[in-house]
Amino acid sequence: MAQVAVQQISKRFGSVTAVDELTWTFDDGGLTVLVGPSGCGKTTLLRMIAGLEEPSGGQVWFGDLDVTAVPPWERNAAMVFQSYALYPHMTVFANMAFPLQARKLKKDAIRRQVERTAQALGIDHLLRRKPRELSGGQMQRVALGRAMVRQPDVYLMDEPLSNLDAQLRVEMRGEIKRLQRALGVTTIYVTHDQAEAMTMADTLVVLRDGRIEQAGDPELIYRQPATAFVAGFIGSPMINFIDVRLDETGAAWMLGDLRGALPARLPAAAAGTAGQPLVLGIRPEDVVVSREAIPDSLPARAVVREPLGKEALLLLAADALPAGSLLRAITPPDLRPAPDETVWLHFPPARIHLFDPTTNRALQSTIGSPR
């Protein structure tokens, strides 16, 4: 086990910069999730840690060892691939024994270790089968088993669940997290699925264009996104972004006739000068929807209602918004406005996020807003 770190690491493919001078130290023994849209560099970063991709600059550290120039077969990193990458000409047993053979273990030691790991994953009855005789879920477990059969410095997982159906994926999320806890091996997990990232991460690292956009505790990132990008990427249904401006006092935001207080946590001076445009972000579950007029609210028309069971997603249009743009609000299941019925939306000051439209950064860095 070792603390894995990257220092000012870069990767360029021709004129494209996939990873841009990125520095991060991964929690020793923790599960760090790299998340971001496709092309953000998360897989490239993972492959550089594995040694499969040579960095254009910077270093990779395993503990206090600089492994940047060490080839993958001499690094002690176990990788799980999106495609599972099971060797089709070998049995499950041979697949799992393969990394142990590379380490020149004795035959009976290999057998014992493979059997123990297979048992822990519930695949001990499959050891004699070939990969093509397995279901997707079973192949996934074998791929995990091949990584877990040895004691690596780090587990690297590249979207290991994305080929599974939705139900199995949720089940395996928990399973991987449980196994990771039990083994206590530093794990770096790549996904583009923000829900998977939120549920699994001890530490969440949001990447964009080869840089870290924000990193830390997943719930804190959800509550206090540092940029509009993070706010938009983390959370489903997606956060609402509304163009507003500061009023003449500089202490409230304005959207048409509606005036709203700035969050109490935001120092008045932080917002900027009177009349300055801002982007207001509010998560769908934070929008208060009322069928009767309430103070400090925005009249809107219900356009579509999507029942989700325990709640419903309401899509709303408002005259104060640009034509064609819809707001999303999560509402209790018993709130059922008729199509085109006028409802009133309230944005609680404590729940709004304000972003500078030029830098896209959040206006404040507050300490734990109450929820």
């Binding site: 594995a50 690094r75 990788m79 495609s83 060797y87 990394p99 091949r146 690297l156």
Partner: protein
């Protein structure tokens, strides 16, 4: 009813195609068993009576020694197959799997070399082999045959390697195996059907190759392969179809044995990447 009609139709078509291929062979066999000089005697019979082994004794005898040519052919074809697969395998692996500049161009270049008709390159090849002092020798036959075989087998193998998932190589590397071991333990086993089908094509190509063999052997029996030796039957005294036929039948035997031995693998290789059956 429909189903059995369908089966019947495919049976008939298969039979026609098989007859088309096998009838000439059958005729060669029949001719080889006739007494020399009686090949064209009428009426034609489905089976010669009496069966005569005279032609076989002649072509195996001291005048012709076709067994010598068969051995030469086997040596040449085996060496060409091994050499071409090795070189084409390395080239194909690089083209299919490694990143380097001018990759597409190098494959195009190899392909262009393969497009030149044999007759175009025969004169320069002859001069080259003469300069190397390899005329009338098996190496003089093997080296150019390897070169001729490389374009097609590189192309076949590159297509095959390219279809192997990259993740498998990466997985083997992170599992702790260095590149050459990855090649041996993962790539080659997975490419075995492809190597086999390329190998069969190369082997048969060089087994039947005539023009180069004729040119390089310079009429000396030491370097004669089967096709050249059979040509010799017609020049020696007169055209004896029974001898020629006996030579052809004998030269087919090793190939038939090889095909029977590797039949299953060959079919696997030729249909690899196609539908499963």
């Amino acid at each position: 009813m429909r189903r059995s009609l369908h089966t019947l139709a495919s049976l008939v078509v298969t039979a026609v195609v098989a007859l088309f291929c096998l009838l000439p062979l059958y005729w060669v066999l029949v001719t080889s068993l006739k007494r020399p000089g009686t090949e064209f005697r009428l009426p034609l019979r489905a089976w010669p009576a009496p069966v005569s082994w005279e032609s076989y004794l002649t072509v195996l005898g001291p005048d012709f020694r076709i067994q010598h040519a068969i051995l030469n052919s086997l040596l040449v074809s085996a060496a060409v197959t091994a050499g071409a697969l090795f070189l084409a395998g390395l080239a194909a692996y690089a083209i299919a799997r490694l990143r380097f500049r001018y990759k597409v161009q190098s494959l195009t270049l190899i392909q262009m070399a393969g497009m030149a008709p044999a007759i175009v390159v025969i004169a320069p090849t002859f001069v080259l082999i003469r300069s190397l002092g390899l005329l009338s020798s098996l190496p003089g036959l093997i080296l150019p045959n390897i070169a001729y075989s490389i374009p097609l087998s590189t192309w076949l193998l590159a297509a095959y390697f390219a279809n192997l998932p990259f993740d498998l190589e990466d997985a083997a590397k992170t599992d702790g195996w260095p590149p050459f071991q990855v090649f041996l333990r993962v790539i080659l086993p997975l490419a075995a059907p492809g190597l086999f089908s390329a190998g069969v094509l190369v082997f048969l190509g060089s087994w039947g190759e005539f023009m180069l063999a004729l040119t390089i052997s310079m009429g000396l029996p030491e370097a004669q392969t089967v096709p050249v030796a059979i040509l010799g039957f017609s020049q020696a005294f007169q055209l004896q179809w029974a001898w020629v036929s006996a030579g052809i039948v004998l030269s087919l035997l090793p190939v038939i044995v090889l095909v029977l031995l590797f039949q299953k693998t060959v079919i696997q290789g030729l249909t690899a990447g196609a539908v499963r059956y």
